[in-house]
């Protein structure tokens, strides 16, 4: 189970000359639910953009298994990215298409399946995310949570080995967020996929995260990594603790903070 699925080697990200994060170095193992966390604006979503091939790193590289993503030419990169699925923050469904057409889009584009078979696959994917029967609805006719689940169905269309989530629980009520967390975990268990989540939702982080990195805005690099619960229990870095306890570590007594942290859990 502990084979590397995605490795980030010495990566520095920048917009123009403005460095967002430098010297990122971590490995995501197969079957992990890997959480990328940090305060708003620290570069979490930017990191995601680099992992899914939308933004080229200033230096360093991303490896899918053994293969480099950014040394590869365009065709190879597309092949590598074919095994990933991405759920964007707002679902990013194409508004001019029905849910069925949205989910069918990657299938018609990248496979040679017949129309009948694609229809069955689409119904199956929508049923997986609890949207059976909603094939002919347009995204605008659905609630935010449903749009997000439909986006997940589309991300899973090609049976990806790695699923990326950008702020999956943003804008959802706690119950829907919990259901989405459960869905993510059972998809990981049953599909054997690796999950990478960008989030700052503490409840989600502790509920489903198996490993995590913490990006810091001031030093512009990762300052902690490990299973989230272990970070809360063992980290001595005030920034990490403040984040994981919702700012409760303003008091200087670390053990008091930890107690508060456990109360949150």
């Amino acid at each position: 189970m502990n084979s590397p699925c995605l490795s980030i080697k010495n990566m520095t990200m920048a917009y123009g000359n403005f460095i967002i994060q430098r010297d990122l170095d971590f490995t995501i193992n197969r079957g992990d639910i890997f959480v990328i966390m940090g305060a708003s604006g620290c570069g979490k979503s930017t990191l995601l953009m680099h992992l899914i091939g939308l933004h080229r790193p200033m230096s360093g590289d991303v490896f899918y298994g053994e293969e480099s993503l950014w040394q590869a030419d365009y065709k190879d990169r597309q092949r590598l990215l074919r095994q990933t699925g991405v759920l964007f923050q707002s679902g990013a469904l194409l508004s001019s298409m029905t849910l069925a057409e949205n989910v069918a889009l990657p299938l018609t584009e990248h496979t040679r399946l017949g129309a009948q078979r694609i229809r069955q696959l689409v119904s199956y994917k929508l049923a997986l995310v609890g949207l059976a029967g909603f094939e002919d609805y347009y995204p605008a006719e659905l609630s935010g949570g449903m749009q997000k689940r439909a986006g997940l169905a589309r991300a899973m269309a090609l049976d990806p080995k790695i699923l990326f989530f950008d702020e999956p629980s943003a804008g959802l009520d706690p119950v829907s967020a919990k259901l989405l967390d459960d869905l993510i975990r059972s998809l990981r268990d049953h599909l054997g996929a690796t999950i990478v989540i960008v989030t700052h939702e503490l409840a989600s982080i502790f509920a489903i995260g198996t490993y995590s990195v913490f990006l810091d805005m001031e030093t512009k690099t990762m300052i902690a990594s490990g299973p989230p619960k272990q970070l809360l229990a063992e980290s001595r870095d005030p920034k990490v603790l403040r984040f994981l306890t919702r700012g409760a570590s303003e008091s200087s007594n670390i053990s008091a903070i930890k107690r508060q942290g456990h109360e949150i859990l």
């Binding site: 059976a132 599909l191 054997g192």
Partner: protein, 379 residues
């Protein structure tokens, strides 16, 4: 390292009341699979079977393809009253099936395709036309109110916005207006010259171009360009603001979007259009002069003299007045479609398209009406 796919197969053993379904081989999206309907046919009418079990000892790799087939099989069996035992399936498949059947389809959710008769289509478009006209009248009413508010000095908007709009639809439009008007003047001169040079009256090309541009073509071409340039931009801007809830935000802050967004745009266009029209007239006349002086042995001074004698103040005013009216119509259609825009990306596109179409239709109708009226009044 490519692994060869093992051929997939599915067999059914019937043992008294028990159906044993054996799934063999790799079931991947690109593999050939047996036709499930043939298997289902072996179930007969299903009455003699009570229970269905799976055997998956020889199942290789699998993905969504196997899942869709299993779902079909299970749904069919349950329809026939056969109870399905999924406990012998791999745990991953059991889990996914659990998710699939966890949220049953809500009754009435699925959409039926409905047949609509042509009579209904005609009726619907009639009703839509009526509501469109209603919306137009309401919009014009609201706009009028904000214009009154503006003249009483009570309209809430930022002067910066007005000037930015003037900048956007005035000076920035000059290059395209220059090009198009110059070419239109050129074309008028060429078309006129064919007839006029037959009886040696090349000098009168100046009359034709001058009158044609100032009374009609200058304003009309400006209006068509501005409809495509600014009308579309207005619809897209306001439509995107609608999608992003920006217009709702303005309303909650106590701004009337009509005054805050629409008014500066309409005012800017009304202010700029007559100026653009004069500029277009001038460019058209220059275009005409280029042709006449170069090809028809008319000197530049003669051409200018002829043009000055041909165009009266009245002609220019008619052209400029028309263009101001077009300006109102363009701003109206652009802003109206933008404000009526729905809440999705595709609807912004629809709003922009219909803004340009509505704008040009309005322009042509208004132009014909005004030309007829001028003709009857002898202006």
């Amino acid at each position: 390292m490519a692994v060869d796919n093992r051929p997939s197969n599915i067999t059914v053993n019937c043992k008294a009341h028990l159906l044993e379904v054996d799934i063999i081989g790799d079931w991947l999206l690109d593999s050939q699979i047996p036709d499930l309907d043939l298997i289902l046919a072996q179930f007969g009418d299903g009455t003699q079977f009570k229970k269905l079990v799976f055997s998956t000892e020889s199942l290789g790799r699998w993905d969504s393809l196997l899942m869709t087939e299993l779902i079909k099989l299970i749904s069919y069996s349950e329809e026939k009253g056969i109870s399905v035992d999924t406990k012998t399936l791999p745990s991953g498949i059991q889990g996914l099936l659990g998710l699939v059947f966890a949220v049953p389809e809500r009754a009435g959710v699925r959409r039926q395709s409905i047949h609509i008769s042509w009579l209904e289509i005609v009726g619907n478009s009639g009703l839509r036309l009526q509501s469109d006209v209603n919306a137009l009248i309401v919009f014009i009413g609201n706009l009028t109110l904000s214009v009154f508010a503006f003249f009483r000095g009570k309209a809430h908007f930022r002067w910066v916005d007005l000037w930015r709009n003037v900048q956007d639809c005035g000076p920035s439009a000059l290059p395209i207006i220059t090009l198009i008007s110059l070419l239109v003047g050129l074309i008028l001169a060429f078309v006129g010259s064919v007839q006029l040079s037959l009886f040696g009256a090349q000098l009168y090309i100046a009359d034709l171009v001058g009158l044609g541009m100032s009374r009609e073509m200058g304003g009309l071409m400006t209006a068509v360009i501005m409809s495509g340039r600014t009308g579309a931009a207005y619809a897209a801007q306001l439509g995107t603001m609608q999608v992003n809830n920006e217009i709702d935000a303005l309303e909650t802050m106590g701004f009337d979007p009509m005054e805050f967004l629409v008014l500066p745009r309409v005012l800017a266009l009304i202010f700029v259009m007559p100026l653009l029209c004069l500029y277009a007239d001038l460019m058209g006349i220059i275009g005409g002069a280029l042709v006449t002086v170069n090809f028809f042995e008319v000197s530049l001074v003669e051409y200018i003299n002829r043009t000055i004698n041909a165009i009266h103040m009245l002609d220019l005013s008619v052209g400029v007045f028309k263009c101001a009216v077009f300006g109102v119509l363009i701003a109206l259609s652009g802003c109206m479609r933008g404000m009526q825009c729905g809440r999705s990306a595709s609807e912004v596109g629809d709003a922009t398209t219909s803004a340009v179409v509505t704008g040009i239709v309005f322009i042509v109708i208004a132009d014909s009406l005004m030309t007829i009226i001028c003709n009857r009044l002898g202006i």
